[in-house]
């Protein structure tokens, strides 16, 4: 049998267990006749084993807090809701995500619209605490949210469309505070308007629409603010409301 010469690379490949069985057997035969190389190989194998003994326990250490992948706070809040967890786990608005990796801005847009949808799903079913500040203190609510967002926000009047203001709350967003206004019609159907500051003060976008598992969202950017209107209603009706919101904010 003709054997290929044994190279340094062969010895390392043998240590790393990546040689085909036949070649590994040839190396073993070679090592039997070459005690110095055999000592080296056995030392290298021991090095690998020692590295694992020394450093593998780190794999099981609990992660320090600072190494948790930063997770949007809405996700943490959402985790309290088992149904919502399923909603996200089953793909959530994965459909929106599919093309998102191609363009960062597109990704960003779908991300905040998704946050708006999740915030809607989290807070709109609340019976006792749907909002932090009720509609009875509307002036205070608007002042407070404007102050926290650092921009003048308004709670549009949607009474003509049959929706009255329930109130609002402050939410954490990816780049600072976000406002959520909640509306409700006579049957208890709720809509939420999510308002965040956009990075670019002058950017404007057209209306975009996304729907997942019954929650429809119209979202757009106008005069430095991003708006997302979410509700579990028909697209035409949601559009009617979104248009009314847009008109009121751009008289």
């Amino acid at each position: 049998m003709i054997r290929l010469p044994v190279t340094e690379a062969d010895l390392h490949a043998y240590v790393d267990g990546i040689l085909p069985a036949e070649r590994a057997a040839e190396i073993e035969a070679y090592l039997a006749d070459h005690p110095e190389d055999a000592a080296r190989v056995s030392s290298y194998c021991e090095q690998t084993a020692a590295l694992h003994r020394a450093f593998d326990p780190i794999l099981d250490e609990p992660l320090p807090r600072r190494l948790e992948v930063p997770r949007p706070v809405w996700a943490r809040a959402a985790l309290r809701y088992a149904a919502l967890v399923a909603w996200i786990a089953l793909g959530g608005v994965a459909g929106w995500h599919l093309h998102a990796y191609h363009a960062a801005s597109e990704y960003e847009a779908t991300t905040w619209a998704r946050r708006a949808a999740v915030a809607h799903v989290v807070y709109s079913p609340e019976v006792r605490h749907p909002v932090e500040v009720g509609a009875s203190e509307e002036a205070h609510l608007v002042r407070w949210l404007s102050k926290r967002l650092g921009a003048s926000v308004k709670a549009p009047y949607l009474g003509d469309l049959g929706y009255s203001l329930v109130g609002g709350r402050l939410l954490p967003g990816d780049r600072g505070p976000v406002a959520q206004f909640m509306y409700q019609d006579g049957k208890g159907q709720r809509l939420t308007l999510y308002v965040r500051r956009d990075a670019d003060k002058r950017r404007e976008t057209a209306f975009r629409f996304a729907r997942e598992r019954g929650v429809g969202v119209f979202y757009w950017i106008d005069a430095g603010l991003g708006y997302a209107l979410s509700g579990e209603i028909d697209k035409p009706e949601l559009l009617r409301v979104a248009t009314a919101v847009y008109r009121q904010l751009n008289p």
């Binding site: 080296r40 090095q47 694992h52 003994r53 794999l59 992660l63 992948v69 599919l98 990796y101 960062a104």
Partner: protein
């Protein structure tokens, strides 16, 4: 599609293991992992979906590690002190002496040899994957592996006196 954060989270323990072995210091290792995660998150739109996330993260970590080499030299004094503090706290752990010997031996390797030895021996990257992570040809990986293992063997062998201390505990 799984959330990229979840995918990333799965890699953190291995990133920490590698960073710890590479830096030899708990807090600088976690700093390195944190920097890696932050950079990866800010750039994850550049990651090709479906490609090897682990290799991508290790590549980012390697680049940060190399770029921080100068800063690291400046802070070496502090690092040694904090290491000593951790050492005294953890001295009762059974594998500590071996870990300390191994860490001090690893510290005596040039960092390019150490990186190859750890990527291949500890993280079980193939030679080709390690070459991509480090941005060097496979031949370079092989020669660094060969020199690194031989040097580690020599250092550990010369450290026989240190090992004898184990008996005294």
């Amino acid at each position: 599609m799984a959330d990229v954060r979840v995918l990333m989270e799965e890699q953190i323990p291995r990133l920490r293991r590698y960073a710890r072995a590479l830096t030899g210091d708990r807090s600088s290792a976690d700093d390195l992992v944190q920097d890696t995660l932050e950079r990866a998150l800010s750039r994850f739109h550049l990651w090709r979906h479906g490609s090897d996330l682990r290799a991508w993260l290790f590549t980012i970590m390697h680049n940060i590690f190399v770029n921080q080499a100068r800063t690291r030299l400046r802070h070496q004094h502090e690092a040694l002190e904090s290491n000593a503090a951790v050492e005294s706290m953890r001295a009762r752990e059974p594998d500590w002496l071996e870990l300390r010997d191994l860490e001090s031996a690893l510290a005596q390797l040039p960092h390019d040899q150490r990186a190859v030895l750890l990527l291949v021996g500890l993280e079980q990257f193939t030679y080709e994957e390690a070459a991509r992570v480090l941005g060097v040809p496979v031949g370079t990986v092989m020669s660094r592996l060969s020199r690194g293992r031989e040097r580690l063997r020599a250092v550990l062998a010369a450290g026989g006196n240190v090992s004898a201390l184990k008996v005294v505990k």
